[in-house]
Amino acid sequence: MSELKISCEAIREVEAVCETFHNDPGELIAILHAVQNKLGYLPEEVQRVIARKLGIPASKVYGVVTFYSFFSMTPKGRNPVSVCLGTACYVRGSDKVLEEFKRVLGIEVGETTPDGRFSLDCLRCVGACGLAPVATIGEKVYGRLNPSDIKKIVAEFED
């Protein structure tokens, strides 16, 4: 077992979530959604707590967490950046936008900056193809992006 990093309070919260779903293994994905909503991510200890509550092997929980791109085992930054790599954005140059985010933030896709300010991810289609290429930071959508805009946008979020 890995080192215990989450608080007893968080464990109790996770257990409570499992109980609202009647500890039903068929509700595993719904439980993972609810827990990730509360904690922001799904570290190994949390997965073990869920597995114990539902009476299923931890490997099964891990299998599900890693199968779906929506679930994350690392905490996101305070300002999660997601660059759309849907086809519409791709043909309008989102690959270059992504490269520039990587360069400006100094991190790769799936990573978080050491100060916890930003994390970088890709997503597939925000549904704002008229604004392609698009990226989201938190809830806000940035459209018609040019690589040269990125530095300024990131600066808006400086603490």
Binding site: I29, H33, V64
Partner: protein, 634 residues
């Protein structure tokens, strides 16, 4: 208030329809004069698009500004502000429509609201600068009926999107909502099913299986617990048809699921939706709650003795879950891995119970088929593909948006008439349909009438409705690689051809785009693609080589150029490019050097600058910054 009979429903429909009648555009030949409070119009409505695309352009702020401005002018009681679903014309969003004169304002900014209120709503004169300008005539057009974008469209699945308030069930009822259900419950379920069969409706998720036949099979398997599942796991990157229907007209999906339940004798409905679609989830939740409140979901619906209820299940971002067996496993809380069919879900689906899975757009067609009759639906479209298809038209096209056209419309009509042609006057190169499972079609395919068979014969597929236009600046080898990267990332890993075969194909494409390819790689790629197509377990794997096969068939010379000449004609493949500065054209302004992220450009101001090829990372920043056209790329 519960609606307990079909007659009570009809009474509600009549009173609600009156309020909605002002929104009908009618068949006016010329755009109508603006209405306004000062001109004696007693009541106006403002419709602000609440689709995801317009929301991304601050349409929520526009709504807020309207409400505030109307309050400040003391006319909030005379003007309703409503937020319907997607109008479709995303390129020109956010869209604001003023009723009763149907003025269609485009690209509205939050700051424009005050002018619309004082000039149009109060004064009765249109704000010309916000009207759509026809690109060929230069004239301002104030209603959507006269825009090229809408002229060739026929909105059946999208009939209520951009028209009704999706969070008000009464507006759905006003548009004959739940009438198909009420009528069906009075008929024998087998008769209703035969109507769906006779309409010729086929699955809109991609494969095109006849919906009526699917229901008939599901009906045959008897069990106490049967399920109707709505597949709302729209995973095709660059497609947003189903999302728009759920956001703009959630009740049509609910009604259709109930009709399906009645036909196949099921009482439980499940909607499997992506968690990444928060607005669609919210609208569905509201619609389900309202349907329950009105007694349209629950026990003894409309006094017929038929029970039905719906729950929402959340996906978590896995493309393969669009495949019905994978989707069912995901709903059971497992990894979304597909299984071999048979047994089909109709026999053993959700937790082993008989399950019928239909896609959102398919379901949205069902109520209107029953209210207007199967013959009416079957009269639209081609011999084997009936009705219409919704496409998310995007990419290098002037009019990006959500469109619905009769089957049999040609790609040329979609791209040039509705789409307004290729952006920035560039040359058309290809159109991609069917997403990662589809293919790229070229100029020579533009005149084929679109239906399931013709697209498949041309080497692509209907798919769920993504349609991406590409121009001369797109490298087809890179496009094939883009889709393959997607498939490799989304492969569930269960079967070897998809897990390993696609990875090998991607490695070959990496080599080719980096200038390390060999001529035999092209044959190897083609061979591997065919093997995967024949041997993969599920629909995702079997169709994953399509982007490679179709680009090989239509753009083979580009592959050859990459390998033999180390040339990427679209100048997309970085490794094959060399950037240089033309000493004659360069004015020595230093803009390129100041913007170069790799500090690869050096020189003295007012003298020609030079790029150091060792340091150059080929990002193209200098090219985009140079005002004198002095950067050359070979």
């Amino acid at each position: 208030m519960k609606i307990t009979s079909a007659d009570a429903l009809e009474g509600i429909r009549r009173s609600a329809a009156e309020a909605l009648a002002v929104r009908e555009e009618g068949d006016r030949s010329v755009s109508q004069e603006a209405c306004g409070l000062d001109k004696g119009t007693p009541h106006l409505q403002v419709l602000c698009c609440g689709g995801t695309g317009c929301k991304a352009s601050e349409s929520a702020k526009i709504v807020e500004n309207f409400r505030q401005s109307l309050r400040e002018h003391g006319i909030a009681d005379k003007v309703d502000v409503l937020v319907p679903g997607c109008f479709g014309f995303c390129e020109k969003g956010p869209i604001v429509k003023i009723i009763p004169d149907s003025t269609f304002y485009t690209s509205v900014r939050p700051d424009d609201v005050e002018e619309i209120v004082t000039s149009h709503i109060i004064g009765g004169s249109k704000v010309e600068r916000l009207l759509y300008q026809d690109p060929s005539s230069g004239q301002h057009i104030s209603d959507s009926k006269h825009m090229e974008f809408y002229r060739k469209q026929l909105r059946i699945a999208l009939r209520n999107c951009g028209f009704i308030d999706p969070e008000n069930i009464l507006e759905y009822i006003a548009r004959d909502g739940y009438k198909a259900l009420a009528d069906s419950l009075k008929r024998d379920s087998l008769e209703v099913l035969s109507d769906i069969k006779a309409s010729g409706l086929r699955g809109r998720g991609g494969a095109g299986f006849p919906t009526g036949v699917k229901w008939e099979i599901a009906r045959k398997f008897d069990a106490p617990d049967k399920y109707v599942v709505c597949n709302a796991d729209e995973g095709d990157p660059g497609a947003f048809m189903d999302r728009s229907i759920m956001e703009g007209d959630p009740n049509s999906v609910i009604e259709a699921m109930m009709i399906c339940g009645y036909c196949i004798n099921a009482h439980h409905g499940l909607i499997y939706i992506r968690a990444e679609y928060p607005l669609a989830v919210h609208r569905l939740q509201v619609a389900i709650a309202q349907a329950r409140e009105y007694g349209l979901l629950g026990k003894d619906i409309l006094g017929s003795g038929f029970d039905f209820d719906i729950e929402i299940r959340y996906g978590a971002g896995a493309f393969v879950c669009g495949e019905e067996t994978a989707l069912i496993h995901s709903m059971e809380g497992k990894r979304g891995e597909p299984t071999l069919k048979p047994p089909f879900p109709a026999e053993a689906g959700y937790f082993g119970r008989p399950t019928n899975v239909n896609n959102v757009e398919t379901l949205a067609n069902v109520p209107v088929i029953l209210t207007r009759g199967p013959q009416w639906f079957a009269s639209i479209g081609t011999e084997k593909s009936k009705g219409t298809k919704v496409f998310a038209l995007a990419g290098k096209i002037n009019n990006v948006g959500l469109i619905e056209v009769p089957m049999g419309t040609t790609l040329r009509e979609i791209i040039y008439d509705i789409g307004g042609g290729v952006k920035n006057g560039k040359k058309f190169k290809a159109v991609q349909t069917g997403g990662p499972s589809g293919g790229c079609l070229t100029e020579k395919h533009l005149d084929i009438p679109i239906d399931y068979e013709s697209l498949a014969a041309a080497g692509s597929m209907m798919g769920s409705g993504g349609m991406i236009v590409m121009d001369e600046d797109d490298c087809m080898v890179s496009v094939a690689k883009f889709f393959l990267e997607f498939t490799v990332g989304e492969s569930c890993g269960k079967c070897t051809p998809c897990r390993i075969g696609n990875k090998r194909m991607l490695e070959i494409l990496d080599r080719i785009t980096e200038g390390r390819g060999k001529m035999e790689d092209i044959d190897k790629l083609e061979n591997l693609a065919k093997v995967i197509k024949d041997t993969a377990l599920c629909g995702l794997g079997q169709t994953s080589p399509n982007p490679v096969l179709s680009t090989l068939a239509n753009f083979r010379e580009e592959y050859v150029e990459h390998v033999r000449d180390h040339v990427c004609r679209a100048r997309k493949c970085k490794a094959l490019l060399t950037y240089s500065i033309d000493p004659v054209l360069c004015k020595g302004c230093s803009l390129c050097a100041r913007n170069c992220p790799a500090e690869a450009i050096a020189g003295e101001v007012r003298k020609p600058f030079v790029i150091n090829p060792e340091k150059c990372i080929r990002c193209g920043m200098c090219l985009s910054r140079c005002k004198f056209g002095a950067i050359h790329v070979i």
